[in-house]
Amino acid sequence: MSDQLIILAIIYPLFVGVVTSLMPCRERLLAIWGMVHLALANLLSLGLLVQTLTEHQVTYHLSGWAPPLGIELRATVFSGLISWLISAVALVGFIGGRDTWKDQVGERLPHFLALFFLLVAAFQGLCLSNDAFNLYVMLEISSLATYGLIAFGGGRAYLATFHYIVMGTIGASFYLIGVGYLYIKTGTLNISDLAQILAGVPWTEAYILALGFLIIGLLLKMAVFPLHLWLPNAYTYAPDATSILVAPLSTKLAVFLMFRVMFDIFGGVIDDNIPSWSLFMVLLASFGILAGTSLSLAQRDLKKIFACLIVAEAGYMLGGLWLHDPRGNVGALFHLVNDAVATLVLFLVVVAVQESVGGRNLGHLSGLFRKSPLTAAALIVVAFNLIGVPPFAGFFSKATLITGAIASGRLEFVVALLLASLGNLVIFFRILERAYFPSEEPFEEKWTRSKRGDVLGALALCIGLFLIVLGLQSNTIMDLFIRPVVPL
């Protein structure tokens, strides 16, 4: 049984998704059905995580075909952690989005949830597969499921989905072309095999081209400025039940994929042959951070503010990956974990705010502290995390990134990170100020506590407080999960 955990982590949500599409549209039934299966999926991933911790690496050959020919699944300690993170985020997102089903999804709920489970399966595949082409397939499945899930939003979501389809398809095609080049040159698609062959052959322009296509494709999927255009609208106009799952994970898994391309496929050869790319990438990341933060400053819709922050966060991780310093890489991967949790809290807060004050524009927020103190508390917690207040996890990922940047002499990245922290300070205190100070209108309506908002706020707050634990234990987490997979 235990050697099957890794494949079960992928196909279990897949089968659940297929069955879900056949279920009747009964909200209560579907909610219980989904929660039970996601809880089981959590157990599976947790089992896989324990397994990776004891065995360091878990491999699985699909239908028994040996690696260079067949598809191989492989979990390291870090992908074990991410696999569990995906299941956990899916469960919390499922619970958090439940309240919005009636208004935003409606009659076609079983189909919506089928796509939801399909997306979870694709995310698991993205994190666990060790085959470059299989990863492309998973990337496409996740994108297709996401398109569908976003389009459920109706109205402006259709156009946003169309943008996303165009740009997402270009991104995926670029990735595919890159994989094609590698296949032509090496004759293999298995990542470990690729790494072995690449380390031994002379470096040619074909590899530069392959890497270029792979990286650009992934930059699109990561939504790094200036390839971010699809993201803010798609995430804003998607149903809340969608964005709560997609926003924390989608771009982060593209980052993880980039990490695997850079370190698992190309290993040390990038630094040896094309050191100048790092120069450009870190610069791009610095611009992306500043652009994302400024974009976010210009918004008035809470959900869009947070969506734009995702663009900035992608820059953090891109820069960290391309720093010539292991600390930068460790910081990027830790930020991936931290940011997935923080984004989950952010989008939970969006739902909770809508429940408690009836809208998500800045203007709606006045009196949030009275109407739903728990939501306000969750907002404070996640704000501190994004600003980088110690001892929240956000501080430690940022501190590790900055240390890496200082050690490799990339001052522009340091400056961008610091400015982003200050930008987040402005963004969040603009929100918190409105929530904290009473409204300036002459007659105030009587404030009533919102019960639903408080329940969601409590959920968000619990996960937000988990960020403190993550922060205080950051060094342990890096030692256990991240430093083993980052080459020194």
Partner: protein, 493 residues
């Protein structure tokens, strides 16, 4: 290291936080709530005294709780400078709590429970900073302190408070995130160590970047209010007076100075500061702040603003003294932390008492008040003497040492500037006292009767008395200050 020692070490941080829950539960019973706060204050002071005693016996108290970054633990330790800060905050917290109770009731403030809760968090963070054994731990508590005081500054929740809050955050967080964080991480990537005392032994000074590091710490810890990072402080005076008294005269601003001293003495170290004459730059910047703030003080009519400018000057006094890097200077500066705290909290208590009892905020309205409020103005006079630096108050001793240190460091110009600033302070304070005692009170429909409420009167008399007592018995504080100075200059942990 045994369990009781660890318990005692963390108690000053945990006790104020433990008070929070009963405080919330007693939110509708003001008397019970205030007694809980007071109990917390006394308990905290008890543990502080225990730590002081243990330190005095030469016991090594240190506890690394967990690892935050490779080579940098979340570590607590008691040392001489930390002791001074712990004693200052621990001693004044219960007194200020008693005063707050009187003030908030007299003023009929709203949200008193939030006020007391945030006060507790701020004290916990202050004690955390004092106990930190490395710069990262200090930074953690420093940020908690910054954010927990925001609701206190904006307590009134009106547009004035909103503006003050924005300015407060911009300066405090801008400094700590924009300057201290990169400076700290630069030191970390150079040495791999941030522990006080040991980081400075590894760090090599290298040209002008060393001056930049020192400046980043000096301005980044903007709670120390070195000009031009002082601009938040006069604005933050919109907060209720107990906040101004304990936080913006004692805990918060002193934590700023404390952090700067830690950074300059224990992270960068005397050798680093002496190389390339970085220390002279710090001295010059602080001397400018001292003189300019004293000059600005003279022209203020709002008493609290006047006191705020006086605080700005006194904070730079302390950093200036430390930046001389001789034993007298460092000892005098660190001692001034305590001496100034006593004097300044007295003055703020008086300002609050006058505002609540006589409803007067402006100096020009104080005519004849000294005769109706004799206790308050008696204490006020003592506070003024302490701030100007005249005997028989503790302020005289520390100021004496600071001026001596300037002369020892062969900087008579600086000594002269300090004396000029004292004269300016006298020029600002004596007219207030003269006005209160010797001018006739204006004719009013409802003349003020008697002195202020005992809940406010007792604290301000107590702090005034202690200002005088420390003049005669300064030995504990002086001993701690000298111990710290010798440790910094001789090297060692």
């Amino acid at each position: 290291m045994n369990l009781t020692a660890e318990f005692a070490l963390i108690a000053p941080i945990v006790v104020p936080l433990l008070v929070l829950l009963p405080l919330y539960l007693a939110r509708n019973k003001p008397d019970l709530r205030e007694s809980i706060s007071l109990t917390g204050g006394f308990l905290n002071f008890f543990f502080v005294l225990y730590l002081f005693g243990a330190f005095g016996r030469g016991q090594q108290l240190q506890w690394d709780i967990l690892t935050l970054m490779p080579g940098v633990p979340l570590g607590l330790r008691v040392d001489a400078l930390g002791c001074i800060m712990l004693l200052t905050a621990g001693f004044l917290w219960p007194i200020a709590t008693l005063y707050s109770a009187g003030y908030l009731r007299g003023h009929k403030e709203k949200n008193q429970t939030r006020f007391f809760s945030m006060f507790c968090i701020a004290i916990a963070a202050t004690n955390g900073v004092s106990l930190s054994s490395n710069l990262l731990t200090l930074y953690v508590f420093y940020e908690i302190l910054s954010l927990s005081t925001y609701p206190l500054v904006t307590h009134h929740q009106d547009s004035e408070a909103r503006a003050a809050g924005r300015r407060y955050l911009a300066f405090i967080m801008g400094g700590s995130v924009g300057l201290v964080l990169p400076a700290m991480l630069t030191v970390y990537s150079m040495t791999g160590d941030l522990t006080f005392g040991s980081a400075s032994q590894v760090l090599q000074a290298g040209g002008w970047p060393s001056a930049l590091l020192a400046l980043a710490f000096l301005y980044g810890f903007s709670k120390a209010a070195v000009m031009p990072m002082h601009a938040w402080l006069p604005g933050a005076m919109v907060a209720p007076t107990p906040v101004s008294s304990l936080l913006h005269a004692v805990a918060v601003v002193k934590i700023g100075v404390f952090s700067v001293i830690r950074a300059l003495c224990d992270v960068l170290g005397p050798q680093f500061m002496t190389a390339h004459n970085t220390k002279y730059l710090v001295t010059a910047l602080c001397a400018t702040t001292v003189v300019v703030s004293a000059a600005l003080m003279v022209s203020q009519d709002n008493l609290k603003r006047c006191l705020a400018f006086s605080t700005i000057g006194q904070l730079s006094y302390i950093i200036l003294a430390v930046s001389l890097f001789n034993v007298t200077g460092i000892a005098g500066g660190t001692m001034h932390i305590f001496m100034h705290a006593l004097g300044k909290i007295t003055l703020f208590f008086c300002a609050g008492a006058i505002a609540v009892h006589a409803h007067k905020k402006y100096i020009s309205q104080f005519d004849g008040l000294g005769r109706t409020m004799p206790w308050t103005f008696g204490a006020f006079t003592v506070g003024c003497l302490a701030i100007i630096g005249l005997p028989p108050t503790g302020g005289f001793l520390s100021k004496w040492m600071i001026v001596t240190a300037c002369i020892k460091a062969e900087m008579p110009v600086i000594a002269g500037l300090l004396l000029v600033s004292s004269l300016l302070k006298a020029w600002a304070f004596f007219p207030i006292i003269f006005r209160a005692y010797f001018k006739a009170a204006p004719e009013e429909e409802h003349p003020i009767k008697g002195d202020c409420d005992p809940m406010m009167r007792v604290p301000l008399i107590l702090t005034a008395l202690f200002s005088i007592i420390v003049f005669f018995y300064p030995y504990y504080i002086l001993g701690l200050a000298q111990f710290f100075a010798e440790r910094v200059l001789m090297g060692g942990l």
